[in-house]
Symmetry: C2
Subunit: 316 residues, 2 copies
Amino acid sequence: MLNIGIDLGGTNIVAAVVDENYNILGKSKTPTATPRSADEIFDDIAKVCREAMENANVKIEDISSIGMGTPGTVNGEGVIEFANNLGFDNVPARQMIIDRLGELPVFIENDANCAALGEAYAGCGNGSKNFVAVTLGTGVGSGIIVDGKIVTGVNFAGGECGHMVIMVDGEPCTCGRKGCWEAYASATALIRQTKAAMDADPDSVMHELAAEEGKVSGRTAFDAMRKGDISGINVVNNYIKYVACGLINLVNALQPEIICVGGGICNEGETLMKPLRRYVQAERYSIHSKLQTKIMKAQLGNDAGVIGAALLGSTK
Amino acid sequence: MLNIGIDLGGTNIVAAVVDENYNILGKSKTPTATPRSADEIFDDIAKVCREAMENANVKIEDISSIGMGTPGTVNGEGVIEFANNLGFDNVPARQMIIDRLGELPVFIENDANCAALGEAYAGCGNGSKNFVAVTLGTGVGSGIIVDGKIVTGVNFAGGECGHMVIMVDGEPCTCGRKGCWEAYASATALIRQTKAAMDADPDSVMHELAAEEGKVSGRTAFDAMRKGDISGINVVNNYIKYVACGLINLVNALQPEIICVGGGICNEGETLMKPLRRYVQAERYSIHSKLQTKIMKAQLGNDAGVIGAALLGSTK
């Protein structure tokens, strides 16, 4: 059984033909090139789908379903109700794909939810049915899987765990609240925390590191820490504590089998994952339970989105 | 179809015969009288079940299943792995009920989860399948229902939303973390906040109110607010803001149809519910969605526990 998964991003549109063992048989990609009309963008979506099928050497008749992950909120009718960074307002995505590729089952879902589904089934979850994926990127994205299905909530806007407040009256968040997890645990937040520490410590090695790289990045404080820089150590310690705080919140609320952590910061590997696991182990409510939530690093990288999107048809 | 629901509490054991329309046909109650051996407590559980059947004028042959809510963590085999306030450590609750009442289907679940199930099906949820119940009591209890089922998690310890941190490094919580929602939004926390405000304001009317009642209670600040007392107003405003913070966190993560708020503090009615709804409306992530989570007052009071327990057999 073959399915097409589409990852509609703010930067690129990716499509892939995915088989029943989650292998990608063919793939194609084109820039999203916003701002453009929805019609133009969906013409390109159809184009990359056709190219992916060509690359996989299959025909549309071989395809069982098409799934697409998109930023923003998608309702049960496959309409993208709102997607800020695509400029979409009530775009009938499902119908626009059917109009271009034919009468196939088409499923549309939020992109973070698709990535969670991909990691749960085909990535570090290895088929896990109770799973949370967290992505530490520009923001903190997340998707919740319960009983093998995405928790979309009543309005298909569920899974926004980055917008859970961990610090009442704390740092302002892009969502309008103050103190969201995202405002402390995203790569953006880490960079802000790094800059603040640099301002406070003119002797920190972080100044040299940032000059070498040409900017302050999510790596600056980690690299400084590895050089024994006190300000770098403090930034990293605090950042990991903030990330852990939200993870423990999710453990206590949902006790999933696995919480998967992804995004650029995860390139730090065990430097990040090991202390995260120690915080979770020390603070989780379920100290007396034999089974415990595993904290794992995401495995699929950018492919999580297309693989998860391709899975939408079989997990609805 | 008749089921028996049991609510095993730290203070009382209650059993009820519940019909398919969630009506209680007969009920009985006895003190838990801890500390006692599990055997003695389960003898009394069987006794109140028999009394409830007598009061309902039904026989054990008329009963389809027995469900019990208990404090603590219950595993999939119906063993209470740990329940601090009952002194239980690996008590085989399911088997102990079968030994005393016969070979019926018996289901054991955490008490907050049972109460959530009761409110979802028979209370303010009116059959809602995606539902969160929050109880503002000594602690902040909660239960999460997704697709009509309790989210127990991998280790049956799920739904502990009171132990999600809303204030990093904040007030110490009984669970060992700092800044849990429970440490700000429980009745216990409200009393602590009231006492602190009284210490800071010797002229507050709260001193008189507490003297009249013989103690500082969850009502003291609300009563002072109604008399225009500035310190009382501040305590209530801050408390409601803390309660709302956790509710909005749950909305953003799960977007349930309904979040139900129960516990003694809810006797304040719309004085509490109205500002809570305004906070949620202003801060929820899903501002563009047509459907929104409803914030409702719990309806079943103490009966939520036995009704939810009686429902366990049909929702597993």
